[in-house]
């Protein structure tokens, strides 16, 4: 019950007026960027990093957590109300949600998404409170070889799961690893891959990479294929649920939570797989009226996936906080934020900074409650945000991207680097390379290198030290399996060679 008293202390941190304000700013900003196409929580947190340097860490992380959760809520509004297919994690919600909206049930779709997100977020954050100390106890004895193996598993899982083709995911990962190599080697002080440019000695800042790949890359991509019609938004009033909708929603919420949390915590699990699984589970379990409605706007098909989506966000925080292991792009940026404050997530963080960690976890409960209030009555307001003409939206995204990057070092060189990374982001989108592995490779790569060298130094050059601990051996075997999985799958589906 020690964690319960720590959590209560955390609430004392989270409920101070200043931190409540930071939480409110975070969830509002998060919902806004979640609703708006073209930007997401990862880029928003990255852009805020240079500005929040003077904010106390506990307050900054309360705000970042709010942005993370808020982004999840906002994304569902877009996929329900906007008549165009969107990103993969919210596409499942759009399947039924958008059809509900077209049938005049937008208010119910938004309400079941918001309340389901609240229920799932609250339960999953509770699970985080229970699970985190257990993982910390287990991980406290981890050696460098275990951390190295963990990083390898994160690399392979995120590369092969997030992409339909493992080799494209790995190529993306490689881009991130190479960018992460640039600069001075932390252990020997040697400059690597700087091409003699003095500005590169400190490496390329995570903010520039994230903003370049996400924002500038996205704008260039959108510029190449912009829909020239004005956005087609379904009109909506205040979100609410009728009695029968409650009855049809609560079981999907709980099932979605049960699927979302564990998948979020797994490397490479992310939000896509659990939302998809939740959708197919609800479809299979549907009886009577619901079963007929599937495909035409069944509320179960919104309630389940949305709950899974939010629960996976809380799940992602388990490996991030307890092991320092990011399993999604947003988590990787959060890890970079910790590093900016000189903090290293992992078992020690819980010992050294309990006020920060538990304050952040407590703020997740607070932020979830705020989001419910923000999203039910204010749904029409968020719907209006969707009408922003796209030329202004994307021009504004570039303006803020340039602002955030220039604010780092007041250097125009950074803006050119930003543009080059934007071109890379454009090419990756156009040719189907997922962006998340690059961000994870960039941030986790240098840590993997340090742990590898530390492990091999302990083993005095003997490579077998990497598999001596059972944990490390298991993780490496899993990594190999994750990589081989797509190959095996293709082998089984042989009779269908590429038609074109």
């Amino acid at each position: 019950m020690e964690s319960l008293s720590l959590l209560l202390d955390g609430f004392a941190t989270a409920l101070t007026p200043v931190n409540l304000l930071y939480a409110l700013v975070g969830v509002t900003l998060g919902t806004l960027v979640g609703v708006l196409p073209g930007i997401g929580p990862a880029m928003t947190v990255a852009l805020l990093l240079p500005i929040t340097f003077n904010v106390p860490p506990a307050s900054a992380f309360i705000m970042f957590a709010g942005i993370y959760y808020g982004g999840m809520y906002g994304g569902s509004t877009t996929s329900i109300l906007l008549n165009t297919p969107g990103e993969s994690s919210s596409m499942i919600t759009a399947l039924e949600g958008n059809k509900m909206a077209k049938r005049g049930r937008a208010a119910q779709a938004l309400a079941t998404a918001a309340i389901g997100s609240f229920v799932a977020g609250t339960i999953a954050t509770g699970l985080l409170v229970v699970a985190a100390p257990l993982v910390v106890d287990f991980a406290i004895s981890f050696g460098p070889e275990d951390y190295f193996a963990l990083a390898i598993l994160a690399f392979t899982a995120v590369s092969s799961v997030l992409s339909t083709s493992a080799v494209r995911g790995l190529a993306s990962l490689g881009f991130g690893l190479v960018i992460g190599l640039i600069g001075i080697d932390q252990q020997t002080g040697q400059a690597r891959l700087t091409l003699g440019v003095p500005q590169l000695l400190d490496g390329i800042d995570v903010v520039i990479v994230a903003v370049g790949l996400f924002a500038v890359g996205e704008v260039l991509y959108v510029a190449s294929r912009l829909r020239h019609s004005s956005p087609d938004v379904v009109p909506v009033g205040r979100a609410f649920l009728g009695r029968s909708d409650w009855a049809r929603s609560w079981r999907p919420w709980l099932r979605g939570t049960a699927l979302g949390f564990p998948f979020g915590a797994l490397p490479g699990g992310g939000a896509e797989i659990p939302t998809f699984l939740s959708y197919s589970v609800e479809k299979r379990l549907a009886r009577g009226e619901a079963s007929e409605e599937f495909g035409k706007g069944a509320i179960e098909g919104v309630a389940g996936p949305e709950a899974a989506n939010n629960a996976s966000a809380a799940g992602t925080l388990v490996p991030l906080l307890t092991l320092g292991l990011p399993t999604s792009a947003t988590a990787a940026i959060l890890l970079a934020a910790f590093q900016q404050y000189g903090l290293q997530p992992g078992p020690q963080l819980f010992d050294h900074n309990p006020a920060l960690v538990w304050g952040m976890i407590a703020s997740l409960f607070v932020g979830n409650a705020m989001l419910l209030v923000l999203n039910l009555p204010l749904a029409p307001l968020w719907a209006r945000v969707l009408h922003i003409p796209r030329p202004y939206l994307y021009a504004g995204i570039v303006l803020f991207a340039a602002l955030g990057v220039y604010a780092l070092n007041a250097s125009a060189v950074d803006l050119v680097v930003l543009f080059v990374l934007g071109l890379l982001g454009y090419a990756m989108r156009r040719f189907g390379l997922p962006v998340a592995p690059a961000v994870i490779g960039l941030i986790l790569g240098p840590m993997a290198e340090i742990q590898l060298r530390r492990a091999l130094a302990i083993g005095a050059g003997d490579v077998s030290v990497l598999v001596r601990s059972p944990v490390a051996a298991t993780l490496l075997v899993l990594s190999a399996l994750v990589l081989l999985l797509p190959v095996l799958r293709r082998f089984r589906n042989r009779p269908a060679p590429a038609a074109d």
């Binding site: 073209g38 500005i51 690597r192 294929r225 021009a395 602002l403 220039y406 050119v416 156009r430 040719f431």
Partner: protein
């Protein structure tokens, strides 16, 4: 999957993917060659600063080869889906080029012109390129935005932005 790209785009598309695979290969070679001159004192315990780059570089070479083979055998990545992207239309590379030129012009003139003027020009140029139909309105929004961000971030949050030509005025 295959119906998202018009046929006449296909040949070009495959070439683009091969170029990307080439970039992966080139980066792998660059990492290995570029760290050749990096040496550590012999007294360094364990592995030197070249060890990890060699692993990454070799992995990139391997990935690049597999990527190229995959493309040549007909494999293809799915272009990303997004709310504002119409995957039915062929890529409009003219817009991409214009956006690039405007952004680079902004990067090179920012210190001279200052945030307010350069930022307003950036916003105006991009919004017109991306299809804003009323230039007057776009210009107005551009000025309001760049002035507002300057005041909010410089006066409010203490962020350093260049004053440029207007340095004495605001």
């Amino acid at each position: 999957m295959s119906d998202t790209i018009p046929p006449r785009d296909r040949h070009w598309y495959r070439r683009g993917e091969l170029v990307l695979a080439g970039v992966v290969l080139a980066l792998g070679a660059f990492v290995i060659a570029g760290t050749a001159d990096v040496t550590a004192a012999a007294s360094t315990l364990g592995l030197g600063p070249r060890f990890f780059p060699i692993i990454v570089g070799s992995a990139m070479l391997l990935i690049g080869v597999f990527y190229a083979i995959d493309v040549l055998r007909g494999g293809r990545g799915d272009p990303e889906q997004s709310e504002d992207v119409d995957s039915e239309t062929p890529a409009d590379l003219r817009s991409v080029l214009l956006v690039s030129v405007i952004f680079l012009a902004f990067a090179f003139t920012l210190d001279f012109l200052g945030w307010i003027i350069a930022g307003a020009l950036l916003f105006f140029g991009l919004s017109v390129t991306l299809g804003a139909r009323q230039p007057l309105r776009a210009g107005l929004i551009a000025v309001v935005l760049s002035v507002a961000t300057y005041l909010a971030f410089v006066k409010g949050l203490g962020v350093t932005l260049p004053g440029g030509l207007l340095a004495g005025v605001i």
